[in-house]
Symmetry: C2
Subunit: 548 residues, 2 copies
Amino acid sequence: MPEKWEELIADKRARLAKTIPAEWKIQTLPAEDSVIDYPAKSGFLSAKELEITNSTATDLVAKLATGELKSYDVTLAFCKRAALAHQLLNCALEFFPDAALAQAKELDEYFEKNKKPIGPLHGLPISLKDQFRVKGFETSMGYVSWLGKYDTDESIMVTLLRKAGAVFYVKTSVPQTLMVCETVNNIIGRTVNPRNKNWSCGGSSGGEGANVGFRGGIIGVGTDIGGSIRVPSAFNFLYGLRPSHGRMPYAKMANSMEGQETVHSVCGPITHSVPDLKLFVTSVLSEEPWKYDSKVIPLPWRQNEEDIIKSKLSSGGLTLGFYNCDGNVLPHPPILRGVETVVSTLKKNGHNVVPWTPYKHDFAVDLINGIYASDGCTDVYRDINASGEPAIPNIKDLLQPNIKKADMNELWDVQLKKWNYQVEYLAKWREMEEQLGKELDAIIAPITPTAAIRHNQFRYYGYASAINLLDFTSVVVPVTFADKAVDAKKENYKPLNELDGLVQAEYDPEAYHGAPVAVQIIGRRLSEERTMAIAEEVGKLLGNAVTP
Amino acid sequence: MPEKWEELIADKRARLAKTIPAEWKIQTLPAEDSVIDYPAKSGFLSAKELEITNSTATDLVAKLATGELKSYDVTLAFCKRAALAHQLLNCALEFFPDAALAQAKELDEYFEKNKKPIGPLHGLPISLKDQFRVKGFETSMGYVSWLGKYDTDESIMVTLLRKAGAVFYVKTSVPQTLMVCETVNNIIGRTVNPRNKNWSCGGSSGGEGANVGFRGGIIGVGTDIGGSIRVPSAFNFLYGLRPSHGRMPYAKMANSMEGQETVHSVCGPITHSVPDLKLFVTSVLSEEPWKYDSKVIPLPWRQNEEDIIKSKLSSGGLTLGFYNCDGNVLPHPPILRGVETVVSTLKKNGHNVVPWTPYKHDFAVDLINGIYASDGCTDVYRDINASGEPAIPNIKDLLQPNIKKADMNELWDVQLKKWNYQVEYLAKWREMEEQLGKELDAIIAPITPTAAIRHNQFRYYGYASAINLLDFTSVVVPVTFADKAVDAKKENYKPLNELDGLVQAEYDPEAYHGAPVAVQIIGRRLSEERTMAIAEEVGKLLGNAVTP
């Protein structure tokens, strides 16, 4: 007889709690809103473990590759810190330190025997969103009806990361359906922001955002179909890469709306620095993912593309567009200041920054929202209803039950409109280049209209999702923090529309004080090398080359 | 008041007839089945014009680039020969020698003034399938209801070819709907094979096959969603490239089922040699098509990929798989002999050729047939019925009116199955490489089960379409000709299934004697450089480096 959904949840919570060894259990949860300093203060981690987890992935793999560090020690440090992260932030759906430590040991033995690393990520723990299938573990993806499904096969990304030497230890939480930029599900509840439990960690890769933001992970792997890598990166003062579709493998992942191809979800890393993003991308590409996943383009790392940007840095500078409003929803004052900070910093350093007029972003956002709901939301409600669990309230704006499915010819019409729009956007890009007489290297824009948002307030996905519709490469760069002393609420603001009014009304200088502020750097399709290099420069100039 | 469809056709035929100047009109059509020698014998073309049209595109652009040849003369020669082709084969839907000669004159003036070519195709006439939009001309694509639609915008491919220096002079015929591998529509009727009017020129880029086969064109541009470049190439003893999706621009083309993205139609060249295929591809890529068409991958010509194959040729040889039966339909004896000829020739020349087991091609063919019909054929019958014209009989097997549309979730299921199948096929490819201990460079296979087919007999698309489902790169290589003296009909053949029985029964050594036989060389996705280099080697070894 099928169990009741509440029982399935209780069972899962009990199983999850048991994965944390007694010696890592926090006896009394801290009362403060922010737990970002907890690892340093709590005494759970040794000085060495703090040093490891406060490092960069690039440094760690260098030390693992020489034998200066052992995978076991690095893995243990991250397992401990992730255990704290989960207890404080509620960010894990699966946690398996024993398997991770066993895997680490094997890698150490390999190193001992062969005197060389097994691959570019030798011994490095990597944190995975709970869409990645890892043999022997459960993938629920926040659906109660999926609980108890243990994977017998692996996602291609996991297989290739494993070949590259990565160690797996945690699969992090997601919102029910994945289609929300906050992280809440009925199984474990809500994941919160390490900097303030009243703020969201973002979503849908929110468990990654929280875990990596807390440094319970050094590289987290998320997915993005409408902001799901970039929003958690932004809300946790991290770097995040949304590669264009076809750059990173996605085969054999769990997903909502599997087989939907009108707008593709993509995999990408969330880290504390651009070199760590690059480490991840180069490591995956070195495994030739196109020989495993038919959707991956045979495009190895193009160092020459990165070098084009580097050479511009040393002569003439970059040429960048920017916008601070997409014409649909005006960002909160901290975000407007964030864009302005980036623009003025770049200009001060000799770069050419010009206004970019967002081209029909209202059209783009409507189109992609229609795509998300094109099956009448049949797929997501099938998986919600299968257990009897309720839908989370956050999905009600985007995914309504029992709406009309698109007809096949309507879908083709949408797909044609999408393509035409993309082609028109490229024409605008070329026009700008003709005007300027040189390449437009990237565009700087908000990624959300708000700094790390208060719970249940995420309403407007358009800054992120318009870029998904274009399939442009985008890198999130952390900029600053909301500051009640300078980010005053707008008086007598005349909203552009009802949604804009709602979003603007949510701003409260006191409540948002200290919340992370980010921008995204947008490059043309499949411009990962160039766009990451630009993001690296922007981060450096802002003083955020490596975030805390 | 809307005109009757018969009147629209009569008007179009009259307009088309007028485009041929009186001095190029054939007074008495030849009685022979083959007209392949007509240009040389008829006296319409001067010796110089015969020399030009019997040349290769690679030679022509070299001479145009030094001023040794004028675009006007080259264009005039091809216009004349295409005029003959159309009168003999019925291959053009639009013919515009005046505009072409004016364009050629401008290019000659440019050369005169600047002492250099405008681009890599300076002054070269290029023949286009009637899906390409050229400003000022009509795109009917074989639908009566589209007659009278004159283009005010151009396909991106046309824009870029124009920038590269190409001259346009003809748009060639297609089957109604494009979804047939023979070329017949109600507007101008049937296009026939220059080698024998009783044979098909193939389809859907059949007008290209006939025109280029007759050397009324030197490079023809077709499209392929299920064999439409490759079959006309095969039936006319030509080379044809079906690039993988995303390599060549397709934006702003006319098409059936516009917006259908489950399996993409792609553009590619049809020529008499591999260097001419390469000339086309490198010329288009040099215009950076990815800056114009969002679906094009930023992948410039990779000389290093071609060089990998070249270096294998000089040490160790190629490693190739082959199959002569896909398990669904056994090819006719001339095709079986064609595959065997290629395999033995390669082996004799030191290459490693091993059997390849086609993986679930029955599944692939069923899946793609379902995709073609996924809108219940609404789109194609809308355009057929809009004028009242009847459907051609050839589409009845593939596209039936009033069948059930796929539901959105059914489509997603099909798309997921497609992806999984592609991933499984890649696994088989890797397994073979592991067995062999080296790279499997490509697979040799039939492209059709028959040599150039008799009219209305094309029944099985699976040799071509399974490769479209995989989105593998494929190059057709002409091999030999059916020979009644050696290609005996199989006695007491036990068919694999009903369709196989029908196909095998069609074979008649007498009727097919002399019909072109070809194979396809299949490479992994986006392997254009390598696969063309392999095709070039195969063609050379067969003695077909440049076909007549």
